[in-house]
């Protein structure tokens, strides 16, 4: 039967409204329990 996904979506940072934003570029870990700190995403520094 699955489960209520609201808290999983919330922990992923996926909003309920239609305003989408990308989440995989800052994805910490597949599990909320191992996602307790933010990770450094890719970035670019001009010379």
């Amino acid at each position: 039967l699955g489960a209520d996904l609201s808290s999983m979506l919330h922990s992923l940072g996926i909003p309920r409204d239609s305003k989408r934003h990308r989440v995989l570029d800052t994805f910490q870990s597949p599990w909320a329990e191992t996602s307790r700190s933010e990770v450094e995403p890719k970035f670019f520094i001009p010379d």
């Binding site: 995989l24 599990w31 191992t34």
Partner: protein, 512 residues
Amino acid sequence: TNTERYYLVFTEWVKLLQRVEGDDISTIVFLKQMKDKGVLSKTDQLIEFIKAALELSIFSFKESDPTGEVFTAIDALGKMIIKLLVVQDFTEMTRADYLNLVFPVIALVFSKDHEQENTTFNERPHFRLLSNFLFEWETIRGHKFIKVRNVVTRKELLDFDTEFYNIFSSYLQSAQPIAFPGFSFAWVTLISHRMFLPTMLRLPNNAGWKNLMLLLIDLLKFLDKYTDKNEVSNAISVVYKGALRVFLGISNDMPEFLIENHLELMNNLPPTYFQLKNVILSAIPKKMMLPNPYDPTLSLEDIAACKEPPKVFYDLIAEFSTLKKPVDNYLRIPSNSLLKTIISNTYRNEYELKNGIGYDYLSVDNNIVRAIVIHVGIEVGSEYQRMSSSAVFNTKSAYYTLLFNLIHDGTVELQYQVIQAMVEQLRYPNVHTYWFIFALRNMFVSEEWGDQLLEVQEIILRNLLERIIVNRPHTWGISVIFTQLITSKEINLLDLPFVKKLPEVRNLLSPL
């Protein structure tokens, strides 16, 4: 010994990186000296060096104070390997050759650590090395490798970029959970890594999609194998949760990937994973607004999106190469003998054990059934664009009669599989959703079934209920057809004998 000498040189490298910045010229000079002074002048030496450095790094991890810096050596190794990938002179071997030399060495050290008895295998340093490869490569590839000053090298690296990810992907495939269960959690973390997954989704021309699908299928196969409907081990249950979360992320960032690859995902999804099934099939194109599916006055005909065929990425021909001809011939001119050929080819030669709801094995090849159903959908879509809606939205059309007859002449299992595949096509507003709603609605009340009608109604209702009683999300198409059935004046679901007989089902339906 040679190994000890390699340890010394590697240790110097680790120390160097603690004193100068990662892009300092001395790091290049160090590597150059390794080449010039005969440490890395031959490929045999490269193999021995990486083996020694990796073993030392893993040993260093295991011996380090767990509260301190445990990855110093492994981080240094990751940087060295990728730096060599970038700066070496690749006249005698290509970058692909180099990587295809490095990964097997890593695989061998990894396998020994994992498989050897009485070892304290820990996936973390192995994970860290691969995570670092992704980081180091990402650092150099920004803005089309603009940081690489040499224009020729820059172009070479840009041309190599896709191949880098595909080689990395192949390595991950060989390290999949069925082969290395002690690496399972690290593996799921790697396929969803922020510097791997979004990149694979976005490579030019969807160049990463094929390999990404292979990895996701590996994951689904692992889950399928070890999900027993009576009992799921805690560890597998946690893997599942992680998989679900990853699919939710993909659905958010790139729903097109799930939309266009849904067939292969359905072919490999464990049959009891209804919520994950719904998550995958509920992916909708970005910016699409969904009309209210519960509106009883909803007219699919008036929705522009319902005229559009959904995109498909997979190669359907491969799936049902033997059947394509008979199916296409039947769609042109239906005949009983073609139908018999088609039906007989849907049966397997051997039973396949499958943990389904209400069944433990399959005698029908559901991949083939799915391929037939979706092929019908694709043909419907293209004829609809060419001709008119009356040509396809017609219970006398070959499209409808093929599916009707498969159900009419098939075993209960085949009936279930065909209807299940049709229900899978009820997704976001598109011509497949539209047509399959038409087909299922008509089948639900068709007098052509004769005394088979109740059986067919039961299977259709079961397939819809399976998808709608689970927690959300639910697909738009299923919500639409369900609303139509509930509000229809022709049908009263509560009057159906098989509903009356089952209080659980009756109690589910009557409030609706």
